[in-house]
Assembly symmetry: C3
Homo-oligomer: 150 residues x 3
């Protein structure tokens, strides 16, 4: 399942370009989230993106709902004197026949108490489908699972 | 020791291809491990791979032994209501004169209790030698050290 | 803000080369730090680099000061029977018009007690400016912020 098995240099260079673009994309997206820039963060999803995470009672659809959910979390964290940090990695990137890109990754969420300590909050797996809109990657669907839930 | 110092674009493109292939390889390998797909995980090692980790009383050799050790750990975790997650990163990749690839990386292992919390389990350094078999990377030797051990 | 939006393959290949070089650079730099190789670590900064981290009472300038600060920390950790591990990721890489490279990343510092447990020590954001000296990347300025500080 290693992507490059037996392929030509041209294909490996194209994979390198995609893989690094994906890494840059997630860094940018999570920097926005952790800066509480909810509107800009929501704009890294497609207009009709679906977002399915255990923290929310049901899947959310669309940028306005995404931004609203993020604003609520940011307000709660601020009131509690806490910060979250979303550290993703271990990206497995696979181009699909329809041109979309499947990305499975790990995401650790850290929580820090201002004036206190930092610790692991959640350990998650993130399954995304990315599509290219006007040349840039956007998330069309995201499904997050948490290791502490059955 | 930065690989690209003074080299040509062609060399930097080849390095980018190798570096991203290595990242994809580790993501795939650890996804398999964390999914308890021990046989598929073992197949990412060479037939005669050596595997030296502090958790095992002595180094293990060969895929059958690797799969068996993994199955034991998976059974123990399941019985304890826990999950492990292997998050690697900080890859330093160096091609050797014989064509093998040395990779030093960091690996954090998280443990989550189902219905409980998540925390850091182990912090490790992983020294691997990768070789190419039928076009795909495989681990020929792995030596893991743990920060909490002398 | 995704770098590759609408650009040509040549540009995406150049970005892949830079992005992987940056990742390799940080892996190498932090491996040196965690091995307590302070002099070699300091040599990954420019001669006149500025280093602004919350742990130090004031910003440090120059390699000798960097190496001295690192040696102090290494001695304190050794006396306390502890190890630190610097795990960086989530790199956002942007070339600047002047040829320098801005890199924002996340850095988790783990602490392990020899014969004891491992846990999160600090969660940080690292804002660097890298420049190329004799073909190799070096840090010209680093500013680190910690999530647990106001």
């Amino acid at each position: 399942m290693t992507i490059q098995a037996g392929v030509q240099p041209q294909a490996t260079h194209a994979f390198a370009a995609l893989y690094t673009e994906v890494q840059q994309f997630y860094a940018h997206q999570m920097h926005l989230l952790d800066l509480s820039e909810g509107e800009s963060w929501a704009a890294t999803f497609t207009e009709d993106a679906t977002f399915d995470v255990p923290t929310l009672p049901e899947p959310v659809t669309g940028r306005a709902s995404l931004a609203a959910a993020t604003a609520r979390t940011a307000a709660e964290l601020s009131a509690a004197g806490q910060r979250h940090r979303h550290f993703m990695g271990m990206f497995h990137v696979a181009e699909r026949p329809d041109g979309a890109v499947s990305v499975r990754s790990y995401a650790t969420v850290y929580v820090s108490r201002i004036g206190g300590d930092s610790q692991v909050h959640r350990v998650c797996v993130c399954d995304d489908v990315l599509v290219r809109v006007d040349g840039a990657l956007q998330v069309r669907s995201r499904k997050v699972t948490r290791d502490d839930l059955a």
